[in-house]
């Protein structure tokens, strides 16, 4: 790119350092919004404690006695997935539109910070929160509810988490991009995740539920994510518990989410006319 006279010799700050700083900044912002803290961290934890208190001694599964497995394994894994989803999908779909409505996104776009680093910082912070959430849930599961972890299944568990977290982060960004205002985005995020959780093996097993409930759950990625992760804690499944079909399905949703997010993303509140006006330059400057 051409530069005019009077250019300073100073060099650009490194991208890795900027990304790290942006991630830290987003985590700090998150930490200071009580509602975000509650819905993202506290709610899944409360659900885990309540559901285990009520149903903890039951078993889940279909068929013979040998295929039944303890609910604590089921709930801990299902709610760990729920916690990962609230930290990525719900969190991003809520916070990005709030910052957009406040004009914060537009202001950042006036600075030389490459736009991919701003967005990357928001996504990285949500991934860190999701990982933290999962660790807290599993730790509580092991300590309080006797959760058993099978070493053979750990690789599948980690890959499932990685695919799920990435996909739900992309879907959160897609909702943030498409929904016009912060209040609408908050409604959409909660109205999609909470009802879906009931048909997706998160709050209860839908193995014996009516067919339409099962089909509804099968259409969306939350059930695939929860089931794939639960399998890695299911003692009745032998071996590594890989679920390539489910992972592919989750990833497909994630790719669609990413495409929607990238093509529809807006930096200004809706109605202000500046839609995607600087995409080309953003691409040029992302060095």
């Amino acid at each position: 790119m051409m530069r005019s006279t009077g250019e300073t010799e100073a060099r650009w700050p490194g991208s890795a350092g900027l990304l790290l700083a942006q991630t830290g900044y987003q985590l700090k912002l998150f930490y200071r919004v009580p509602a975000a803290m509650f819905f993202t961290l506290a709610l899944p934890l409360v659900m885990l404690i309540l559901l285990n208190a009520v149903f903890g001694s039951d078993t889940v599964g279909e068929g013979s006695e040998s295929q039944m497995w303890p609910t604590r394994q089921f709930y801990t894994a299902g709610l760990a997935v729920f916690a990962a989803v609230t930290a990525t999908y719900t969190n991003l779909a809520n916070m990005i539109p709030i910052r957009r409505d406040e004009g914060v996104l537009k202001r950042w776009r006036s600075t030389p910070l490459p736009t991919w680093i701003y967005v990357g910082g928001a996504i990285c912070s949500s991934v860190i929160l999701a990982a933290f959430n999962v660790i807290v849930m599993l730790t509580l599961g092991v300590v309080a509810y006797g959760l058993e972890i099978d070493a053979v299944k750990i690789p599948a568990a980690i890959v499932t988490l990685a695919v799920g977290i990435a996909s739900f982060a992309a879907l959160g960004m897609a909702v943030a991009a498409v929904v016009p205002t912060a209040s609408a985005a908050s409604a959409v995020a909660n109205a999609t995740v909470l009802p879906l959780a009931f048909v997706s093996n998160v709050f209860l097993s839908v193995d014996g539920a009516p067919r339409w409930v099962q089909l509804l759950g099968d259409a969306f990625p939350l059930k695939a994510f929860a089931s794939a992760f639960q399998d890695t804690f299911n003692p009745t499944i032998a071996g590594a518990a890989w679920a390539p079909g489910r992972l592919g399905f989750i990833a497909l949703w994630g790719v669609v989410g990413a495409v929607v997010a990238v093509t529809q993303f807006r930096w200004e509140p809706s109605g202000s006319g500046g839609r995607r006006s600087r995409r080309r330059s953003a691409a040029e400057s992302s060095d």
Partner: protein
Amino acid sequence: MSVSEPMSPIVVRGLRKEYRSKDSSASGTVVAVDGLDLDVAAGEVYALLGHNGAGKTTAIEILEGHRMRTSGEVKVLGVDPGDGGRDLRDRIGVVLQTSGVEPELSVAEVLEIARRSYRSPRSTSEVIDVIGLNDKADQRVGSLSGGQARRVALGLGIIGRPELLFLDEPTTGFDPVARRSFWDLISRLAAEGTTVLLTTHYLDEAEHLADRVGVMADGRLIAEGTPADLIRSFGGSTVRFSLPESEAVTWSEVLQGEIAAQVSGTVTVTASGRVEISSSSPTSDLSVVTAWAVSRRVELPDLEVVRSSLEDVFIRLGQDR
């Protein structure tokens, strides 16, 4: 094109911006900026003045790179802001109409994270010093007054050591004291050589801060010059006085008849009984008024001649349209 030759920080030729009409029943487009030409020289403070909807914000946001233009030529620091990218944004400072500062962070925190993205930023403590918020540095932005929060936005605008600073209605909603001190701040930045383009609908602000003023209406510049030039060519002076209270109502009739016939300017009587004669020859008009008052044995204790303000120019330009 050679980019090393010195060139005005802002050069705009025939800038046009159309929006699709939001009202589906209306045909076609809304023209927000309609053939704007603008040159801002290095070190100059230039004020774009106009009513709401005149096209000021659209114009400045095209220069900032936030909007694409429909047609016309725009160069900001020698490059097209539409694809200036990171390098241009390192050299300009932008204070948007909506400050867009995170309310959950402290003053020092927002400045600290912002400065990291520039190549040679000012230090956070220097900026806090400049914006005069030393005692608020650790306070959350959300807890500041409107004027203080706007200072933070200005601090964010200057932390990258910009050659060119954009200010979109910087003092809207300020109390008079806060405005004064904000003006002092901008004057100091300008004195250090920063080029400033600001939009405002406050005439006193333009008159106080700007080296040159461009008056915008319907997306076009309808007048341009130094504040003094504009006042000289469109304004002139005003002879004004109040009528003694007791007889004000009946006298206003008399005055309009007798004085209006002899003075060069137009006579208006305000609701409070104040008579104003906007005049291009104040000396002779003043003598008309004093001759009349002496002959009637009336004392006019607050008789005065004042140079027109930019406000008078603005109102006159508005009436001519």
